[in-house]
Symmetry: C2
Subunit: 108 residues, 2 copies
């Protein structure tokens, strides 16, 4: 499993508006091969993380080059005055994954 996280710092007081834009945004991720899960995570101090899990890095890279990616990111103008700085993208390999049913990645 491959994870891409985008970390957003939000202008104080604009947190609910940022969340609303994401809720109302059209998502095309469910159509994308290798997509596992998307979560928008909200901290108490105005930080948000968009956290997307993929089957592997290749699925993530293919998505960034896809038509769905272009469509999703053309909606970005709504963020003016809401972001305090550029989002920071970080990517990770999941080396262990445990669920209530047991270890699904990284078993010995």
């Amino acid at each position: 499993m491959f994870v891409a996280m985008n970390v957003f710092q939000i202008v104080s007081g604009k947190e609910d508006e940022f969340e609303r834009i994401w809720r109302e945004r059209e998502t095309h991720l469910h159509e994308v091969p290798g997509f596992v899960q998307f979560a928008l995570l909200r901290a108490e101090d105005g930080e948000f993380i968009s956290h997307t899990a993929w089957q592997d890095r290749a699925a993530f890279v293919a998505w960034t080059e896809s038509e769905q990616f272009g469509r999703g990111h053309r909606q970005g103008g709504a963020m003016e005055g809401i972001l305090a700085g550029h989002p920071q993208l970080r990517t990770y390999e999941a080396v262990i994954v445990d669920t209530p049913a047991g270890r699904t990645v990284g078993a010995l």
Copy 2:
């Protein structure tokens, strides 16, 4: 859904050893009420994140006060010389969750 992330900076060259300790560590999370998923995430620059999802904040807090938490954290001595600084705990509410089957949290 509630997410707790612990961010670890690892001494250069000790990444594989850090990963091995986690792989071999006894996990008791599957026994804990409200546990959804654990993932150990590895970046390319020596950063690791332990990412644990819970049904809600109450399940996370109950776990930190549980016997399983105490057992899991008594194995911590193995980390000497591996961590470059204290782990940083960050917690989040998942305000949106999308899966290939649709939106499971935060639907309008």
